[in-house]
C-alpha cells in the first residue's frame, strides 16, 4: 500500500468492568486500513471483532467501558484520534467520515419511520438543503443499492421490505454522506444464503464506487476468500494472525487459523468425512491467564519446546513478509502441522 492508511489503530484495548471482574474484550489491537482496501476480521463469537469496531466508531458507552490506545482517522484536515477525541467530535465523524452497517437488518431500522424519513435524517445531518433535496438524494441512493421502484418505495416502512432489501437500505443510509470508511459487522449473517452473495457483491461495488476503506467483520471464511485484501484472525480478544488473504488461506501460521480453515466442509468430501471442529470452548475473558489463550484447544502445543505456551504469552511476530502470527510453534513444526490437518 503506497497510500497512507485511512484508519490506523494502535494498541487498542477495550474492557468492560463487570461484577465478576474486568472483561478484556479487545486486547492490544493494531491494524491499518487504506481507502480502497478491504480488511476482513474473522473469529468466533466473543473474540472481540465487533467490540473493536464499535470502539473505532465511538459507539461504546464511555461510562461503562475502559478504552485505551489510539485509532487515527487520517482526514484531509489531519489525523484525529477517535479514542481520545471529544464525544462531540467523534459524533460528527460518524455517518460522515465513517459509517457502519450491522448484522440484523430486521431490527436495525426504526420500525415507526419510513425508509425515506430515516435516509433523509442521515443526509440532513451533513448537508444543507430542504427535505425535497434530501428525498431526491435518498431515492438516488436507494436506486444505487438496487432497490427497484425506489421513488415509490422511499415512502414505505421497514416492515414492508424483505431482509435483503432492508440490508440494502442500511447500506444506502450508511453511504448517503459518502464516508471514507465503512465497517460492515457481519452484514450477511442474518440473510438467506441466496441473498448473501448479492449483498456482498453490492458492498464491494459500493466500495469501488466510493473508494472506501472497508472493514468486513465476519465468521464466514468463504466471504473472506472472496473479498478480502487483508485478514485479521481474532481469538479471545487478540489478533492471533494477520496477513494477506492468500497467505492466510494457503499458508495459515496460527493453529487456530489452521483449525478454522480445516472446519470448512469441502464439496466432494462431504460423504466420506465428518465435519471437523476445533475442540473445546474459548476461555473466559475475565482474568486471562498468562500464556497463550489458545493452548487448551491447540493440537500442537505439545510440540513447542519447554512449557512456553503456558508460561509466556506469544507476541504477534512477522513470520514471513507482511504475515504476522502469535504462536510459539517453530517454523518446521508449523509446515508439518499445516500438512497434517490442512490436507492442502
Amino acid at each position: 500500500m503506497t497510500q497512507k492508511p485511512f484508519l490506523e489503530v494502535k494498541n487498542l484495548n477495550v474492557a468492560f468492568p463487570t461484577e465478576d471482574g474486568l472483561v478484556q474484550a479487545s486486547n492490544d489491537i493494531s491494524f491499518t486500513v487504506a481507502r480502497g482496501e478491504t480488511l476482513a476480521v474473522v473469529g468466533e463469537s466473543g473474540s472481540g471483532k465487533s467490540v473493536t469496531s464499535l470502539a473505532v466508531m465511538g459507539l461504546h458507552d464511555r461510562k461503562r467501558t475502559q478504552i485505551t490506545g489510539q485509532a487515527f482517522l487520517n482526514l484531509e484536515s489531519g489525523p484525529v484520534d477517535v479514542i481520545s477525541a471529544d464525544d462531540e467530535v467523534v459524533r460528527k465523524l460518524r455517518g460522515k467520515a465513517m459509517s457502519m452497517i450491522f448484522q440484523d437488518p430486521m431490527s436495525a431500522l426504526h420500525p415507526y419511520y419510513s425508509i425515506g424519513n430515516q435516509l433523509i435524517e442521515a443526509w440532513s445531518l451533513y448537508n444543507e438543503g430542504d427535505k425535497a433535496a434530501g428525498k431526491k438524494r435518498a431515492i438516488e441512493m436507494l436506486d444505487l443499492v438496487g432497490i427497484p421502484d425506489a421513488a415509490k418505495r422511499v415512502d414505505e416502512f421497514p416492515h414492508q421490505f424483505s431482509g435483503g432489501m432492508r440490508q440494502r437500505v442500511m447500506i444506502a443510509m450508511a453511504l448517503i454522506n459518502n464516508p471514507s470508511l465503512l465497517i460492515a459487522d457481519e452484514p450477511t449473517t442474518a440473510l438467506d444464503v441466496t441473498v448473501q452473495s448479492q449483498i456482498l457483491q453490492l458492498i464491494r461495488d459500493m466500495q469501488k464506487e466510493f473508494n472506501m476503506a472497508l472493514i468486513l467483520i465476519t465468521h464466514d471464511l468463504g466471504v473472506v476468500a472472496e473479498v478480502a485484501d487483508r485478514v485479521n484472525v481474532m481469538y479471545a480478544g487478540k489478533i492471533v494472525e494477520s496477513g494477506g488473504a492468500e497467505d492466510i488461506y494457503y499458508r495459515p501460521d496460527h493453529p487456530y487459523a489452521i483449525g478454522l480453515l480445516n472446519s470448512i466442509p469441502k464439496i466432494g468430501e462431504l460423504d466420506s468425512k465428518r465435519l471437523v471442529a476445533i475442540p473445546g470452548q474459548p476461555p473466559s475473558l475475565i482474568n486471562l491467564p498468562q500464556g497463550c489463550s489458545f493452548r487448551a484447544r491447540c493440537a500442537f502445543s505439545d510440540r513447542v519446546p519447554g512449557n512456553l505456551c503456558a508460561t509466556t504469552t506469544p507476541t504477534l511476530d512477522e513470520k514471513s513478509t507482511d504475515h504476522f502470527s502469535r504462536c510459539h510453534l517453530p517454523e518446521a513444526e508449523l509446515v508439518k502441522a499445516r500438512k497434517e490437518i490442512g490436507g492442502k
Partner: protein, 334 residues
C-alpha cells in the same frame, strides 16, 4: 382503514349491548326487592304489588329490558296519574329515592368526575412520564434512586391513606381547603380559581398513585428501547443524544403508554370512589356508592355501571385507532 373502523365500531356496539344486558340480568336475579324497599312504613302486600307495577317490575325481565332500551332513545314515563314523571331521552331510569331522573343525576355528577379525571390525568402523565425518562437517562444515579423511592411510596400508599394524610396535614392544617365549602362543585367556566382550589388536592391524591405506575413503566420502556438495534443505528448515523432520545427512543418507548393512559383515564371517568368520598366531591363515584350502600337505588346503579363500561369500551376503540396512527405496522396489518 374505513373497513377496519366499521368493524371495530360494530364490535364496540355489540359489547356495549352485551354489557347492558348482563348488568340488567344481574339486577333481575338479585335477592332484593325494590318494590318492598320503596314500600314505606305502612307496608302491606297490596302496596308492594302496586309498587311493583309502578316500578315496572311486574313484567318479564326481557320486556323490562325492552322498555329500558326504548327509554334510552325516546325517553320514558314513570308512574301513573298525578305521580307521573317524564324523563326525556336518554332515560336511564327514575330514582325513587332521589325523586329525579337518573339521567339528570348522572348529568350533574359527570362534570365533577370529568374535572377530577382530566386534572389528575394531566398531572400524572406529565409527572410520571418525565420522571420515568429522567430515571432512565440517569440510570443508577441519585435521580434514578429518588424516582424509585417515589414509585415505591406512590404504589404502596393506598388513596384512602394518602388522601386522608393530605387532607388532614396539608389542606386543612394550612387552611388551603375551607372545610365547609369542601367539594362544592363550581364550573371552571364560571370561577376557574375556585374550581382549581376544589380539585387540586384530589388531583394530587389520584395522580400520586398513577404517576408512580407511569414512572416505573416509562423508565423500563425507555431503558429497553435504548438498547434496541435501531437506536445504535441512529447513533451510528451521527445523531446527537437529544435527537436520539426525542425522535427515536421516545417514539417507540411511549407508544405503549398511549394504550395504558387511554384505559386508565376511561376507568377514572366511571368515578373515583375513594377520592371523591374523602374530598366530598359529588361525582359519579359518590353517586354509585350512595346508590349501592344507602339507597339500593337500582336504576342509578344500572346507569353508572353501564356508563363506566361504555367509557372503557369506547376508550379501547379510540386507543386502537390512535395506535394505528402511531405504529405503521398496525396500520398495514389492519
Amino acid at each position: 382503514m374505513l373497513k377496519y373502523l366499521a368493524r371495530r365500531l360494530s364490535a364496540t356496539l355489540l359489547v356495549i349491548t352485551l354489557v347492558s344486558m348482563s348488568v340488567f340480568g344481574i339486577f333481575a336475579v338479585l335477592p332484593m326487592d325494590p318494590a318492598a324497599l320503596t314500600c314505606g312504613k305502612a307496608c302491606s302486600a297490596p302496596v308492594i304489588e302496586a309498587n311493583r307495577h309502578r316500578l315496572g317490575l311486574d313484567v318479564p325481565v326481557t320486556v323490562q329490558y325492552g322498555r329500558f332500551v326504548k327509554g334510552l332513545f325516546v325517553g320514558r314515563d314513570f308512574g301513573e296519574g298525578a305521580a307521573k314523571f317524564h324523563c326525556p331521552a336518554p332515560a336511564f331510569g327514575y330514582s325513587y329515592n332521589r325523586h329525579e331522573c337518573v339521567t339528570t343525576l348522572v348529568a350533574e355528577a359527570f362534570p365533577v368526575t370529568l374535572s377530577l379525571a382530566v386534572g389528575a390525568f394531566v398531572l400524572w402523565l406529565s409527572v410520571g412520564v418525565s420522571l420515568g425518562i429522567l430515571a432512565a437517562r440517569k440510570r443508577n444515579e441519585w435521580q434514578d434512586r429518588a424516582a424509585t423511592a417515589f414509585v415505591l411510596v406512590g404504589t404502596s400508599l393506598p388513596t384512602f391513606i394518602s388522601g386522608l394524610l393530605i387532607l388532614l396535614f396539608v389542606a386543612l392544617k394550612f387552611n388551603l381547603i375551607n372545610p365547609i365549602e369542601m367539594g362544592r362543585w363550581v364550573s371552571p367556566l364560571e370561577d376557574p380559581v375556585a374550581w382549581f382550589r376544589t380539585f387540586i388536592f384530589p388531583w394530587i391524591v389520584l395522580a400520586l398513585l398513577y404517576a408512580a405506575t407511569y414512572t416505573r413503566f416509562t423508565r423500563s420502556n425507555v431503558i429497553e428501547t435504548s438498547s434496541e438495534d435501531y437506536i445504535r443505528t441512529a447513533r451510528a448515523k451521527g445523531l446527537n443524544e437529544r435527537d436520539i432520545l426525542r425522535k427515536h427512543t421516545l417514539r417507540a418507548a411511549l407508544a405503549p403508554i398511549v394504550t395504558l393512559a387511554g384505559l386508565d383515564f376511561a376507568g377514572l371517568l366511571g368515578g373515583a370512589i375513594i377520592t371523591e368520598g374523602i374530598f366530598n366531591l359529588p361525582g359519579l363515584g359518590r353517586l354509585s356508592i350512595r346508590a349501592v350502600l344507602r339507597d339500593y337505588d337500582l336504576p342509578t346503579i344500572l346507569a353508572t355501571t353501564i356508563l363506566a363500561a361504555v367509557f372503557v369500551v369506547v376508550a379501547n376503540l379510540l386507543v386502537d385507532i390512535l395506535y394505528a396512527y402511531i405504529d405503521p405496522r398496525v396500520r398495514v396489518a389492519s
